[in-house]
């Protein structure tokens, strides 16, 4: 897959919650990634849905790239970059 195809394909779902420090850090990393590539971001506050809340309350931040790669918890920038095929 070429870089331009990657850029078109990146669909990112970001599960987060207000007051989550690791989520703020993950948000900063996503902004850094945005400087390197383009993606479509869907940000979901886990408190908006009880089912999602139960699923992710002890895992956030959770970033799902292209519905297949999951990066979560204390996220390392290298792992996130790899999910975007940047490293």
């Amino acid at each position: 897959m070429t870089k331009s195809q990657d850029q078109r394909a990146f669909e990112v779902v970001f599960y987060t919650k207000a007051g989550c420090h690791l989520c703020e850090e993950a948000q900063d990393m996503l902004e850094d990634i945005a400087a390197l590539t383009t993606y479509k971001l869907t940000e979901i506050d886990i408190r908006s849905d009880p089912v999602i809340f139960e699923k992710y309350r002890y895992r956030i931040p959770v970033i799902i790239v292209n519905n297949d790669t999951i990066v979560e918890g204390r996220i390392d920038f290298k792992d996130l970059a790899r999910a975007f095929h940047l490293r």
């Binding site: 919650k17 007051g19 989550c20 420090h21 690791l22 703020e24 850090e25 309350r57 002890y58 895992r59 956030i60 979560e72 918890g73 204390r74």
Partner: protein, 195 residues
């Protein structure tokens, strides 16, 4: 003549200054040494207490809207803990500053050292084999989880972490105190017999 006088007096004044400096250095060293001998355990207890209090304060600060301070403390505690969300306790829906295992370790160490200080540093230590026995459960639990052989539970993390923390202070602190007392001259003991 005047020059000869100055030349003669210089070594004397230098010697006086040197003696004064030596005396000041010795006294300062003695004061610091005595302070450390007397309060070393209390200093360790305070440091551990600050760590535990800091970890506990994170969710409370977030709950009360003090996110700026909470965030700083949270990221400072990353120096001593991986802070994995799925391995952490939550208060008011906010993650503690340390994971379950580390929080148990530091809390146990804090309580253990506090008891040691309150006993006037008189609690006898455990032998090395008891220390090994007490840290073994955490070594097994942590290692098998780390290599993906199994997943631990919060109960196991708390129990094994508590055993590990208690073992460390129960082994090390009395040993340090014993070593200090044995290395002091007899007149410095002020009537305290070594344990």
């Amino acid at each position: 003549m005047a020059i000869r006088e100055i030349n003669n007096s210089h070594p004397q004044s230098y010697a006086i200054r040197r003696k004064t400096l030596d005396r000041v250095m010795n006294n300062t060293g003695r004061v610091i040494g005595n302070f450390l001998i007397e309060y070393w355990a209390l200093m360790i207890t305070c440091a551990l207490g600050i760590l535990v209090f800091a970890a506990l304060s994170v969710p409370f600060l977030s709950y009360f809207g003090l996110d700026g301070i909470s965030k700083r403390i949270f990221f400072a505690l990353h120096l001593v803990c991986a802070q994995i969300p799925s391995h952490s306790f939550y208060i008011f829906g906010h993650q503690l500053g340390m994971c379950e295992r580390n929080f148990s370790i530091y809390t146990a160490m804090f309580i253990g050292s506090l008891i040691f200080v309150l006993s006037n540093k008189r609690i006898p230590g455990i032998p090395w084999w008891a220390w090994m026995l007490m840290i073994l459960p955490m070594a097994i639990d942590g290692t098998t989880q780390m290599f993906g052989l199994r997943e631990s539970t919060w109960e196991l993390r708390v129990i094994t972490g508590t055993l590990f923390g208690l073992a460390n202070v129960w082994f090390a602190l009395p040993l340090i105190q014993k070593t200090i007392l044995e290395s002091l001259p007899a007149q410095s003991l002020n009537g305290k017999a070594p344990h």
